[in-house]
């Protein structure tokens, strides 16, 4: 357990040390750089939007997968995992060939912010579905029957009985989805076009710092992202506790 923690903590610490090595000025220069700021904002905002969408859509998909019976259900269940399973650069290629120039479905969004949203959505959709699904499977239908015989409509039953039981799972999935969203590289790099201040995301920005040999700035950006991720996980946890208590 200790070894495992060290395995994770040492590289993280190294990054923070590297970033702070140059003092506050490194952070300042990174943060005052328009391009970096734009990339940070774009990444965080897009990930937030997609995470919010995932929380709703993921729960609905999980619900359908667990409670409904329809033709092709097993196939859908399998397809959900595809973004997990494929190397992200392959996901990027797939997206590019689907939504890029000469799109076979007539949707050309490469180089726009839509492409950023789409790519993030593509790779993060499974998280909420896969965290909610097992909880929903464990939830006895008796509980829903009990609510129904007490006079609750299906909607009330969902809101007051089912949803509260799912909240921890939804938020856990959301944290994973957000963390994955802000760190995505492979799926984005091809389709987004990496236009500075328009579609360039943090990971791409970071990579260009590294290419330019500016490791200190790269470490500074990494540290900021680390803080953003921590902040997100902590606040999701706080919201989750609030919601759960209100039940």
């Amino acid at each position: 357990m200790i070894w495992f923690s060290l395995l994770v903590l040492i590289p993280l610490a190294a990054i923070v040390v590297k970033a702070t090595g140059g003092g506050w000025s490194t952070f300042e220069s990174v943060l005052t750089n328009e391009n970096t700021r734009a990339a940070l904002t774009l990444t965080v905002v897009s990930s937030l939007i997609i995470t919010a969408i995932n929380m709703v859509m993921g729960t609905i998909i999980a619900w359908v997968l667990v409670r409904d019976r329809f033709w092709g259900k097993a196939l859908l269940d399998l397809i959900i995992d595809v973004p997990f399973a494929m190397p992200t650069i392959v996901a990027g290629l797939t997206l590019l060939s689907l939504y890029g120039p000469q799109s076979p479905i007539g949707v050309e969004i490469n180089g726009t912010r839509w492409s950023v949203l789409l790519a993030i959505a593509f790779v993060t959709l499974p998280f909420v579905v896969r965290t909610v699904q097992p909880v929903l499977e464990e939830l006895e239908t008796d509980v829903e029957d009990a609510a129904a015989s007490l006079g609750a409509t299906r909607f009330t039953t969902f809101r007051r009985v089912v949803l509260p039981a799912l909240v921890p799972a939804i938020f856990a999935g959301a944290a994973l989805s957000f963390a994955r969203g802000i760190s995505e590289y492979g799926a984005l790099v091809l389709i987004s076009g990496n236009l500075p201040r328009r579609t360039e995301v943090v990971s791409v920005r970071l990579f260009s710092f590294l290419e330019g040999g500016n490791t200190q700035s790269a470490a500074a950006v990494a540290t900021i992202m680390l803080l953003v991720a921590l902040l997100a996980i902590v606040s999701l946890d706080i919201i989750q506790r609030r919601v759960a208590r209100r039940g």
Binding site: E140, D142, V143, D145, A146, A147, A148, S149, L150, G151, A152, T153, T156, R160, V161, P164, A165, A244, G247
Partner: protein, 325 residues
Amino acid sequence: MSIEIKGVNKSFGDFVALDDVNVSLPTGQLTALLGPSGGGKSTLLRIIAGLDSADSGTVTIEGTEATHLPPQKRNVGFVFQHYAVFKHMTVAKNVAFGLEIRKRPKAEVAEKVDELLRLVHLQQFAHRLPSQLSGGQRQRMALARALAVEPTVLLLDEPFGALDAKVRKELRDWLRRLHDEVHVTTVFVTHDQEEAMEVADEIVVINNGRVEQVGTPDQLYDEPANDFVMGFLGETTKLGGTVLRPHDVHLSLRPQVPGAHEGTVARVLRVGFEVRVFVLTDDGDEVTVTLTRTQARQLGLEQDTRVWVSAVAGATTVDPVAAVV
């Protein structure tokens, strides 16, 4: 009649779970649905509650045709074997659920919840979560929750099935007392004949999706309609082609009554206060006889003792051939 079930059929795929069930359950009584596992008891109860729908037939609750009413509109209280508690709500919130949905004023809800928690002896646990209660307490909470909406009928599906024998017995006595206090028409499912005999005013015996017999505990015990009912309500043994209870067999060391069957004692088994004697008659029957310890000692029974066995006068007997439908 509070609940009228007419010609109800229900199949799951090819499997017939209920086969032309007709029952009337009287108002204000405590009725037991008794039968072996898989007999269709839960299915029937769920159809009454509207949680499942019958393939054909009708359900009338307190004069209202309810066959196609959704569960929300039937005003039945349902208690599940595995409690079905709302885990994230406190005990008080669980009980208040039905009332809050009906948008009753807060003060009224609080008062009613308080009254119900007192009724089920849980007033000091109002602010606990269900996970902090024992199984028996959880089930009492579920009962209070069901009673909160003042249901026309209360349905309990093996309410004590998940509890240990001692708590089970306590709760069943308590349910009987509660029913005498509240007087709501109650139907409870059990596969425990002792539970049904002790608690119920009336028993409906269900087997293989069919109603075998309806009657008071005494009627069922004294006049079983067939050997299934007889066998389900207590031990039986066979003597000269009839089925009867082991304690209705008379055993003596010399022929006393005409028509007694002669045989030898194969085994003597002491179980608590009673003694079970297995007699092999010369006609080839293996008859079980129960005696008290005193009787057995007086007779001095041992293996290979020659004995004569016969049905006592007024014994409950069923002819198994006639009972085969």
